[in-house]
Symmetry: none
Amino acid sequence: MSAHVFIAEDEASIVSLLKYNLEKEGYKVSHSENGEDALKQIKFKQPDLILMDWMLPELSGVEICKNLKKDNKFNDIPVIMLTAKGEEEDKLKAFDTGADDYVTKPFSQKELNARIKSLLRRSKPQSSSDIVEFTDLKIDRITKRVYRKDKEITLGPTEFKLLDFFIKNPKRVYSREQLLNNVWGENIYVESRTVDVHIRRLRQAINIQNTKPLIRTVRSAGYSLES
Amino acid sequence: MSAHVFIAEDEASIVSLLKYNLEKEGYKVSHSENGEDALKQIKFKQPDLILMDWMLPELSGVEICKNLKKDNKFNDIPVIMLTAKGEEEDKLKAFDTGADDYVTKPFSQKELNARIKSLLRRSKPQSSSDIVEFTDLKIDRITKRVYRKDKEITLGPTEFKLLDFFIKNPKRVYSREQLLNNVWGENIYVESRTVDVHIRRLRQAINIQNTKPLIRTVRSAGYSLES
DNA sequence: TTCCTCAGTTAACAAATGATTAAAAAGGGG
DNA sequence: CCCCTTTTTAATCATTTGTTAACTGAGGAA
């Protein structure tokens, strides 16, 4: 899953240079050459990182940056400012608007790549262990949402816990006993048939027509999550 | 950027002990030994945390605390009360005045440090930005105003704090427990159903007819702010 | 192969759990 | 003392859960 870099820059030559290099690095790249449009696109596409020219037609990079940093939904997106002059003063002003880094033109592509990599590494882990994926299944423990092939699925609390448990050790077969202990709790007694029922409900919720079912039944042993 | 701790205490020996220890911990420390002056200084300097003696000449710690907690501009500053007697009754009274924590003399410096750290951790992020937006919601922490789609909305103090808390981590699901701790305070006990009531009022206030509601209920987990 | 048995599947339902709502009671400040 | 906000309470509403019982199908024995 490659990161998406957005370029806000009006000089076509720089854009194509950047685009070429970034795509070679494996990033998905899109761009805009005017400020107002850039802001709109950023809010729509939610890129993972933004390269922004200091000066832009319509709406300056500074303004865009300020705007983004005010909004919780976007203020985590790292921004690298590009500027022609290498003056200290501008540098400080850039950080002041909330930019995360700063590169002066002309810049070395190598250095830029390093900075991009570093910023992306920093922003990614925020959402790492709380979001778990297994093949085309994704569960988010913070927002308590489950997705199959990027489509949201609603589960009851028990089904959620059940899936969460399976996803911790995919392919492993768990007996009903084990599932009861781990999903329901050590000292709660319910019929072991109850597990079947919840397995069924989970299956119905996450299955997709005409595809291999995700939960395998292992006769006289239990169930497991399969790819 | 080190935090600024203010000490309101008249016993010189305690002041110097505290000062020595806190400065060693890296805090900026200032103090006053009489109540009236303390209040003046606090309002002028806006420290990040206050250590306050229960009994003070001129104006008692209780009075200062009440005074601060009434004022929007200062009621976020955490206050730790210092008192000679370890009686339950005083403790309750202390919390009643709005103190955030309570330590009885003689106290262990280690414990005090832990309490200070915990309170600072809790209050620091608040001062991140004075105006925060999330989608079409905007809240201004200075003027305590809330807007939805640029239209002003009036909220009670609790609803304001609730929304303010949600907006710090949108989409994240918080349990009633967590909300009580973070919005009401660590050592305030109210029924967890009370949260529901305030959620309801907040919903009524910020919702717009025929649009997706902003606050999501996650059964048996809590609530979250959604876009 | 056929039949039998046993384990797993399924649907329906009742009970329990949890959320919403309105209204009354309790505080607190001016 | 009055007004406004908060908290509690309790009735109601909605969803989830566990149970039961009938059904299905796999796999072993004859």
